[in-house]
Structure formats: C-alpha cells, structure tokens
C-alpha cells in the first residue's frame, strides 16, 4: 500500500513535469556509502552499502510556484542477512502562493507544530497574507520509523491545526492542536502554544507549553529569558517541567508518574572571531527525592581561519549514577579541496543500576577522517573510529562516502 501510494505520486508528478517538460530545475545529491559496523544484535561485523538520494525539482511551472522535494535512502547488508531496508524521509509536492494566500504541500513530509511533531503521508496547507493571523492545517497517515524501516501501521493517523500571529518582527504567538490516532482510537490529543517577545533591544522572553487533553495536565511547559547586553554575550535562564506521556491506547498511560522539573542557567560569550566560550548549570528534579546537578563548559576556537577546534565537558551527579565526560574535535581545511578532521570523546560514568556493570566505567572513542573534493560536484570522504569501552577493547567502525551533486 505504501509503495503503491508513493509510486502513484511519483508517476503523477512525472506526468505533470513531462507535460510542461521544459525548464524545470532538477538539483540534489546522490550519496553512495559503504558502512562497516558491529551489529550489536548478532555480535558480528556488518558491511552495508547505502544509497541516498536528495533532490529538488523546482520551477516546474512558469511562475515557479510548483516544486517537488524528495529524500530517502536504501541500504543492503552484504554479509549478515539483514537484507534490504530503507527510509523514505520525504517526497512531497509543494504549490506556493495560490491566490497569494495558500501554500500547499502534498505527500510524505515532516510537520512540526507547537502541539506536536511527526512525519505524515498527507497534506499541509498554510493560509497566509489575510491579516495579522495565519493558519495551518495538516493531516495524514502517521509515519513511524524503527531500527529497520517503518513500524507504524495503517491505523496511525495525525491531524493538526494552528493559528499564529504573523508579520510582527519582535513578537511570535501561536496556538495549535495536534491529535493522533492508533487503529481508529485517539492516542494523543494535545493543545500547544508558543510565545516569544523581544524587549528593550536586549531581552528575549519565550515560552512553550503543551496541554494533554486526555490527562488534563500540562505535559510540557517551558519559560525562559535570554538577556544579551551585547550581541556577543547571551545569558539564559529557563524553567521547564514535563510528565511522561503515553498513547491513550497504551496501558502505561493510566499509571501515576512524577513531574520532571529542570532549571537551566547558562552563558554564551563570543570573545572574538577566534574564541567563543559557554558555561551552564542545570538542576534536574525527578520527584520522590531524585535529583541531579549538571555542569557544562565548552569552547570553540579558530586559531587560524582554516582550523576549528571544539571542546565540551559536562559533569552530572545525582540519582542513579554520575557521568563525567566530554569531547574534543579539530577540523582543518588544508586546501580548498581537502579537509582533515579528528577527535575523541571520553566518558567516565557509574550507573546505580544494571548489576553487570556497577562501579566506575570509562568509554572512549577516537576518530579520524578526511574529505576531498574531486570536482566541483563530486567529493569523497572517509571516516574511521575506534571505541574502547566496557563492552569491547576495540571496535573499529567506518564509512566511505562518495557524493555527487547534480
């Protein structure tokens, strides 16, 4: 059914473009990749060939209002018997500015409202230029990706509505409603809203909330302020709360759960074109006496224009364990054609659960890579990494990628 639907869409669009067949622009990227990794499920090395295709077909009509966009991948396991699998991320046709007030997208697409996010096989319509308020309506089959391919079924649907203020430079405000169905029953029913306001040229106040109509509780609320006395310094303070949310068709939806709360304070400072630093603290509260403190610092350095160095470190202490680690990476544009990069991540951690690995553990990962531009529209890259952790003394994985832009 899914394949038939996609094929029909592609065929229909092909006929449309053929009928007009003259000057449409067809651009995109083909990426052929050879992947080597350890398959944790059968403990053996797996070699896969993956083919990505990402394209845009624009200016199909003379006014440039009708466009088609697509993105997907297929992969073939060469040695472990997992066979072919793939993901069609999106494939939709877009018609913009119908009567100068309606934008329409038809097909598989990523949709995102303040009340919810998903991928649908369906339609999204935006009504605009009718005053200070714009409207969005979207709906279709809800697409769920699993480890290998799709794991949703035909009874999964999604519908969303939104109304929002438009045209105000310093103010954003919207309310939305998002509902999902599972085999004909309503599985999620959420009202959402978001707000942003710039004040006094140096303050941004923002908020976001989702109200679960079934549980009658705000399952997410975020309120924050960013203060930027100069364009180079941003100070952030946030409060956030949430409850775990389950589909109403799921037995876990009827269980009592704790409220999660988080307070975040952080600063981001760009000292110069060469140095940017950040630091933050967050307090996480899980309920029933559970809590954790998380500290983080980081920086991005550009000692010379062609070199970028990143450092990040965070420390978590609290309920159920501690985590203490960070990452380092360096990227060097050796020439206009050649880029080299390398990095490592190190984590020391202790989990208060999982008896097989109690006590302090470390996990390290080292990687090195290079990318070379073979021509204006072709590039090849190679990345190799090694993991050293509680599970393995060495776990070399890598990928070779050949990109062709058209």
């Amino acid at each position: 059914m899914k394949i038939t639907w996609s094929l029909r869409l592609i065929l229909a669009l092909s006929f449309l473009t053929a009928a007009n067949g003259w000057c449409a622009d067809f651009h995109g990227r083909s990426s052929t990749q050879l992947l080597s990794f350890i398959n944790d499920f059968n403990n053996g090395r797996q070699i896969e060939v993956a083919q990505y295709l990402h394209f845009s077909l624009t200016n199909i009509d003379s006014a440039g209002k009708f466009n088609i966009f697509g993105y997907g991948r297929g992969s073939q396991d060469l040695n472990n018997g997992e066979g072919i699998n793939g993901r069609l991320y999106y494939l939709y046709g877009e018609y913009r500015d119908l009567y100068n007030i309606i934008d329409t997208k038809l097909g598989r697409q990523f949709v995102n409202l303040s009340a919810g996010t998903t991928i649908i096989d369906g339609v999204q319509m935006d009504l605009k230029n009718i005053g200070p308020v714009g409207f969005t309506v979207l709906g279709g089959r809800d697409v769920v990706f699993g480890l290998n391919g799709e794991i949703g079924h035909e009874g999964n649907y999604a519908l969303g509505l939104a109304a929002y203020l438009t045209g105000f430079k310093n103010t954003d405000l919207d309310v939305s409603w998002f509902r999902k169905w599972d085999a004909g029953d309503v599985s999620r029913d959420i009202v959402g809203g978001s707000f942003k306001q710039f004040l006094f040229k140096n303050i941004k106040a923002y908020a976001n909330a989702q109200y679960d109509l079934t549980s009658e509780v705000f399952n997410q609320v975020l309120a924050g302020v960013k203060y930027f006395p100069t364009a180079n310094l941003i100070l952030t303070g946030e409060w956030y709360q949430s409850y775990p949310t389950f589909d109403t068709t799921d037995i876990f939806s009827v269980f009592a759960v704790n409220r999660y709360q988080e307070w975040v304070f952080r600063g981001d400072y760009t000292l110069s074109d060469m140095v940017a630093v950040n630091a933050g603290y967050s307090r996480q509260v899980y309920g029933d006496g559970g809590a954790a403190d998380v500290y983080e610092v980081g920086c991005r350095l550009h000692p010379i224009e062609t070199v970028s160095v990143g450092l990040a470190y965070d420390l978590r202490n609290g309920t159920d364990g501690h985590l203490n680690g960070g990452m380092f990476d360096v990227t060097w544009d050796v020439t206009k054609k050649l880029q080299l990069a390398s990095g490592l991540t190190v984590d020391a951690y202790s989990r208060d659960f999982f008896p097989s690995s109690t006590g302090n553990q470390t996990a390290q990962q080292y990687w090195v890579g290079g990318k070379y531009k073979l021509a204006k529209n072709m590039q090849a890259s190679l990345r190799v990494q090694d993991d050293i952790n509680v599970s393995r003394n060495s776990n070399v994985q890598g990928r070779f990628v050949f990109d062709y832009d058209f």
Binding site: I151, K196, F198, Q220, Q361
Partner: protein, 257 residues
C-alpha cells in the same frame, strides 16, 4: 496621583511595545549561504539575539515549532531529519553513526552504555526523535537479565535460604508454595524500589515490558494484589481515557468501566 502615574507608565510601555511589535520581519532567504559569524553584521544593535549559538541543539525546539517559523528560508527538511531520523546526506566528518543511522553529538562515546543515564533527564527528550516502539524494538533484542534496574537486582532469587544455604534461584516458581503456602507473589522478584523508579521514568519500564503484562500481575483489578496504579485525580479524567481509547486500555484490567 498613583493612578495617573500607572496610566502614564502603561501608555509609555504600550507606545514602546507597539513600535517594536509592528516592525516587520525580514526574509532571510538571501542570507542562507552566509556563515553564522557574519550574522552579527546586521544583528548587532538590531536587538535580536542570535539563535544559532552554542545552545542551539537544546534550544531550537521552541523556534522550530512556532507558527511563523522561517527555518525553511535557509534549510530544507533533510536538515531536520538528518538529526531527528538518522539521515546522512550531508554529514560532517565529526558526525558519528550507530549502525546505518547518523546520530547527533548528544549520543556520544559508548551511547549504548550511557543512554540509560541520559534517558533519566527530561522524559520527552528521547521521544522527540524516537517513537516508544523504537525503544521496545531494540530492547527486545537483548537478554532481559542484562538490562536490569536496581529494583530488579535485589531479587528474591538472590536471597539465601539460610546464612549458608542455597539461593532461592535454586528453586522453580512451582516450588514456592511448598515453603510459602498461600504466598501472593508466585514469582517474588520485586522490591519497593520499583514504584519509585516507575514513577520517575515509566518509559524505561515500557521499553522492556511493552505490553505491560508484567505490571498487571499486581496492578490489575481482576487478579493478583490489585494495587491501584492510577494517579490521584483519576476519577476526574478516567472517562477521557475510556472515550478516546474506546475502552481498549480499561478492558485490560477491568470487567466494568
């Protein structure tokens, strides 16, 4: 006097706000290929904070989900889905992979080992990219004994019969009634920790006990201990669940609802 003062204050603030509010947004399409560092050329003094700072990964949710989002002026949907759904059409050399999927920087080091700690954070974080079925699908491929929580660890099976005697694990569940006639828990593998763990992170329970049958051993209204698992305000919201799920969930535990 106070009233007049308040009135003038409100008037002044309204005027200030109105001036800012009616200012028009500008399309950013023509700046799409600029470096982020060059954004300051315009934004310095504009009173608009840079959105794409080092806090971007954590903070972009609000911007990307608002009604009048302008992400598409610079990014196509592949930009979102490469992070959210594991695509790798434009991956940087620093981008790591798990199996065939590309993963964001937050999934660093030995993610399989570390993710249980990270999953304790905001319960919404995982489900923003992964459906709950994703967790169950993966956990189902591992031995249950290698994915145990604290509450599962202090099991009855680890307790010795005497100070030197064998563990309870020597016996089968069919033998429980021999020493514990009338015992209510035929497989006593539980500790009080589980309630606290479940309330804090119920998604973790679901990731292994997807159909909840293990939970219903004690929490069903029909059998076992009949422990009520519902939240305190259940009576005021239970009809919402009944109506929306057509009673699918209720019938798992109740004959009448």
């Amino acid at each position: 006097m106070k009233r007049w003062f308040m009135f003038f204050m409100l008037l002044a603030l309204s005027a200030l706000y109105a001036q800012q509010a009616v200012a028009q947004k500008q399309s950013h399409k023509e700046y799409a290929s600029m470096k982020i560092s060059e954004c300051n050329d315009c934004h310095k003094g504009e009173g608009v904070a840079l959105n794409h700072d080092a806090d971007w990964v954590r903070g972009h949710r609000v911007l990307a989900s608002k009604g009048e989002k302008n992400c598409a002026e610079c990014h196509d949907q592949a930009y979102c889905l490469d992070c959210h759904q594991g695509g790798g059409i434009d991956a940087q050399l620093s981008t790591n992979t798990y199996r065939r999927d590309y993963i964001p920087k937050s999934h660093r080091s030995d993610w399989l080992e570390i993710h249980p700690i990270k999953a304790l954070d905001n319960p919404q974080t995982c489900t923003r990219c992964h459906d709950q079925k994703y967790c169950s699908e993966c956990h189902a491929k591992f031995k249950s004994s290698s994915l145990e929580f604290l509450s599962h660890r202090r099991q009855f099976s680890d307790i010795k019969l005497t100070s030197v005697g064998p563990n309870h694990s020597m016996f089968t569940t069919a033998q429980c009634q021999t020493c514990h006639p009338g015992g209510m828990l035929p497989t006593h593998v539980w500790s009080p920790d589980h309630a606290r763990e479940a309330r804090r992170n119920l998604q973790a329970c679901q990731s292994c006990h997807g159909d909840g049958d293990v939970c219903l051993t004690c929490h069903s209204a029909r059998t076992g201990l009949k422990v009520n698992p519902h939240p305190r305000d259940w009576n005021s919201i239970k009809n919402n669940f009944k109506d929306k799920s057509s009673g699918r969930t209720c019938i798992r535990c109740h004959d009448r609802f």
